[in-house]
């Protein structure tokens, strides 16, 4: 069962796949999906808020809205391959 399009998944993940890789990953993903499918046979009668879906069994800590020191402008831009007028410059982005 492969009711997914490996090409569109590759596009969303922004990776290039060769024909061979596409075939291999389609097979692998199909097997994974089949395994996961087994979950749908479980009868779950649980309130979604009660399901602890998070891997960390810890409560989130909220912090106060108080400013901390940030990077300086130069530090922030120091790793940028290209910058201009204080801005990061990247290849043109198309939607």
């Amino acid at each position: 069962m492969s009711d997914f399009d490996i090409k569109s998944i590759a596009k969303l993940a922004s990776i290039k796949l060769s024909e061979d890789e596409q075939e291999k990953l389609t097979n692998d993903l199909s097997i994974i999906l089949e395994h996961v499918q087994a979950l749908s046979s479980l009868e779950l009668d649980t309130n979604i808020e009660d399901v602890f879906i998070h891997p960390l069994e810890k409560e989130l800590k909220l912090v106060e809205d108080i400013e901390n020191e940030s990077l300086t402008h130069d530090e922030a831009l120091s790793n940028a391959p290209e910058s201009k007028d204080g801005r990061f410059v990247v290849p043109p982005s198309m939607e």
């Binding site: 969303l12 922004s14 979604i48 808020e49 009660d50 602890f52 879906i53 998070h54 891997p55 960390l56 069994e57 810890k58 409560e59 989130l60 800590k61 909220l62 912090v63 106060e64 809205d65 108080i66 400013e67 901390n68 940030s70 990077l71 402008h73 922030a76 831009l77 201009k84 007028d85 204080g86 801005r87 990061f88 410059v89 990247v90 290849p91 043109p92 982005s93 198309m94 939607e95």
Partner: protein
């Protein structure tokens, strides 16, 4: 065939917190790029997000104010997509456990109270800002420049159910939501600064259909005017396509303000395309009963409550709506003056008309410290009792806004008290009649309009102190009219 449009609105409200959502960089409003950044908000490897408690307080406040059910145990998800203004390649957002769900917002539509159902209220972070060099258009740019000052600023997204029926209703909804965010003091609420940004999902379907048509998302509307026009345009575009038998494609369209039309941007991603998954860096967010109760206790007066209180004084819905949107000192002033005068209509007119008009002329945002509800009540009272004219009331108000002086002092100094002693006025009237034989004859011959001239003469001879209504009444009596 008659089609019915259905609209859902997604609004992003930029919260006015001091720092960003997941790091403690200051939220800055500046043209100077990249000055408030840290490893977290520019997505450097290893940086960990820590949520801003104030932002969670604010979103809870908004959720409660819109009657939403609060999710006690919520969580954050990663919404994955690639775009340069999103440095982590995912936006931290909320998926199936938003902070608030299933609420409603009261709105004013066509002079009546209505309401819009809210589907969800969730917390997320803003993106950076990109500038496309070249022509400024995305599709012909030669490079993209990025400023991440806005990256990570807390955003609340509030989504309505697909229940809005017209562009006008959408505008009324945004106006109300804007006012609510200002009254709750969670946002500046300035549309022109992008504090509130909205997208509309629009579809059309036959009147008798129980199913909604294919929805199209419209982006890039940055004012209420463009929201209204974009929706109207899109409804007629879809209606025409439907009637011509064309397929309506699920897509995102861009509102072009200059050309006044929407154009296709891209085919719309389904939510599966964002590959949401729980953010491993952020454990479950538990909102305790106490946290929620404390916020509930501090809920300020909501716009609908203010309106209803103002209507209790006798104001019409429209008046209550306008006054309710004013600064709090104006509403307080109204209540105090109303308590003294019990005159809802004149109090409303004096405050929203004269007082604010004169303050604009004087270029002041607040009345001077000596100004009080007592002074305004006194002016309104004197006019009601015919002791001063409406025009004199305006003069007194103007003086009071400029000098610390009593109403009586101004009225006496400028001889503004009207003569109410009937005998004295009758004397003046008789004198005018004697001095104007010709005019009196013409009035008797049928030129009624000339009575006004005689009234003017009486007022002139009295030095402006006679009430015109009384002068006219006594003149008519003397002339047997």
């Amino acid at each position: 065939m008659n089609l019915k449009p259905t609209i859902g609105i997604e609004t992003h409200i930029e919260l006015n917190t001091n720092t960003k959502m997941f790091c403690r960089c200051k939220v800055v409003v500046t043209e100077e790029p990249n000055i408030s950044l840290c490893p977290t908000c520019i997505g450097l490897p290893g940086a960990l997000p820590v949520p801003n408690g104030k932002a969670i307080e604010y979103i809870t406040l908004l959720s409660l104010a819109t009657g939403c059910k609060i999710t006690r145990k919520g969580m954050f998800h990663r919404k994955n997509y690639f775009y340069p203004d999103l440095p982590k390649n995912y936006q931290i957002s909320q998926f199936d456990l938003p902070v608030g769900e299933s609420g409603e917002l009261e709105i004013i539509l066509d002079g009546k109270i209505d309401s819009v159902e809210i589907e969800r209220v969730h917390m997320e972070e803003d993106t950076g800002k990109s500038t496309h060099s070249g022509t400024g258009r995305i599709d012909s740019a030669t490079s993209t420049a990025l400023d991440f000052n806005r990256s990570g600023v807390p955003l609340v997204e509030i989504v309505t159910k697909p229940v809005i029926k017209s562009a006008k209703e959408a505008v009324a909804y945004i106006e109300e939501l804007r006012q609510l965010s200002i009254d709750l003091n969670i946002s500046e609420g300035k549309l022109e600064k992008g504090n509130l940004r909205f997208d509309a999902n629009i579809s059309v379907a036959p009147q008798d259909s129980n199913e909604l048509g294919t929805k199209v998302e419209i982006k890039n509307m940055n004012s209420l005017r463009s929201l209204e026009r974009a929706i109207d345009y899109e409804i007629s575009r879809q209606t025409k396509a439907f009637l011509d038998g064309e397929e309506i494609i699920q897509e995102t369209r861009h509102w072009d303000e200059a050309k006044e039309l929407t154009s296709s941007m891209r085919s719309k991603e389904g939510s599966a395309d964002y590959r949401y998954f729980s953010d491993p860096d952020l454990p479950n967010m538990i909102l305790s009963e106490k946290f929620i109760e404390d916020i509930e206790k501090n809920l300020p007066k909501l716009p609908n409550e203010k309106r209803s209180e103002l209507m209790d004084t006798g104001l019409a819905l429209e008046q209550a709506n306008i006054l309710g949107k004013s600064d709090s000192w104006i509403i307080e002033l109204y209540s105090e003056v109303f308590d003294k005068t019990k005159e809802h209509s004149s109090t409303y007119n004096w405050i929203t008309g004269e007082l604010q008009g004169q303050m604009r002329k004087l270029d002041i945002n607040f009345p001077p410290e000596w100004f009080s509800a007592e002074l305004l009540s006194e002016i309104i009272g004197l006019i009601k009792e015919n002791k001063i004219s409406f025009t004199s009331g305006k003069t007194i108000l103007s003086e009071i806004l400029q000098k610390n002086i009593t109403v009586d002092e101004i009225a006496t100094e400028n001889d503004l008290y009207q003569e109410n002693n009937e005998e004295k006025i009758v004397e003046l009237v008789k004198k005018v009649i004697n001095d104007s034989e010709d005019i009196v004859q013409r009035i008797k011959d049928g030129e009624d309009k000339l009575v006004g001239f005689l009234v003017g003469q009486v007022i002139k001879n009295s030095g402006g102190s006679v009430n015109p209504g009384i002068a006219k009444e006594l003149l008519s009596k003397e002339l047997d009219l």
